[in-house]
Homo-oligomer: 167 residues x 2
């Protein structure tokens, strides 16, 4: 049952990601779901190209779309791609207790996953062997990396700063 719910919300996040890609943008989408109703209360996609705004990653767009809330303690964030540190930091800061990830294969490390899990967040990485949505998330990000490597790098913040020591 949980698998079906995850699949449905991830399919919507993927639809938003694919739409962004079709518009020339970065193909990452996210949906914030309320635990009580099981419904999406915010959704969005990366807006780097469309808005010229580097802080609008998929997860951030979903938080923006959900708007003001007293807290987000009863929500789950679905995201097509493993969160970067900005988005993982937002998830930690806002006390979001669960994150469901479609694609953890195209990320360069699992450092942000560890960062969230160390703070008690339940990070669910969908199994591409069992989830069609996960397979499609992985394939979409792979195509993006291949077709637009410079945009991929810009969206991740330009790559590690060589002046900062490795973590």
């Amino acid at each position: 049952m949980t698998g079906e719910i995850h699949e449905r919300h991830m399919a919507r996040a993927l639809e938003l990601a694919a739409g962004s890609f079709g518009d020339g943008g970065c193909p990452i989408g996210a949906v914030l779901v309320d635990h009580h109703t099981g419904r999406a209360i915010g959704e969005g996609h990366n807006g780097l190209v469309q808005e010229g705004n580097p802080i609008v990653h998929g997860e951030m767009a979903a938080l923006r779309n959900a708007g003001r809330m007293r807290n987000r303690h009863n929500t789950t964030m679905y995201t097509t791609l493993q969160p970067c540190f900005m988005c993982a930091g937002a998830i930690v800061q806002f006390g979001i207790p669960r994150v469901v990830v479609g694609d953890a294969e195209n990320a360069s490390s699992n450092e942000t996953i560890r960062f969230m899990r160390d703070r008690g967040i339940d990070v669910v990485i969908l199994d591409p062997g069992r989830s069609a949505a996960a397979r499609n998330c992985i394939e979409l990000a792979r195509r993006f990396r291949e077709l637009k490597p410079e945009l991929w790098l810009e969206d991740w913040g330009g790559g590690p700063n060589p002046a900062l020591r490795a973590t």
Copy 2:
């Protein structure tokens, strides 16, 4: 000399923060400065109330205002208030090598400072004994906490999620 430069940029961040407070918003401001020119390339203030947008903290507004960049490896972020995890995560993700903080006294812990320092970021906390801007940052945040405690809490994400274990 560095002290004068810090003072000048922090005074501008404080001006943005005070303007936001005057408009009924959260009084946190930030300025992103280019190392080569010494000039601000982005600035802004918290937009929770004004935009109804919880992701627009001061630092995020400065990043948004600076717009698209190949990277931010030669910049310093000035912020009137110690970054939350969302903003600290953005600073880490974008490889910003230095952060100057006006007020670290009104934060509930130094966890985000440690998070950034552990990743090689030079975090400078201005000394209120020597910096008028720092004293004013501390005083402004203190007034905000006293006058609008619910808004302060909402802006920090609603407080810790009791379902997540302490860090």
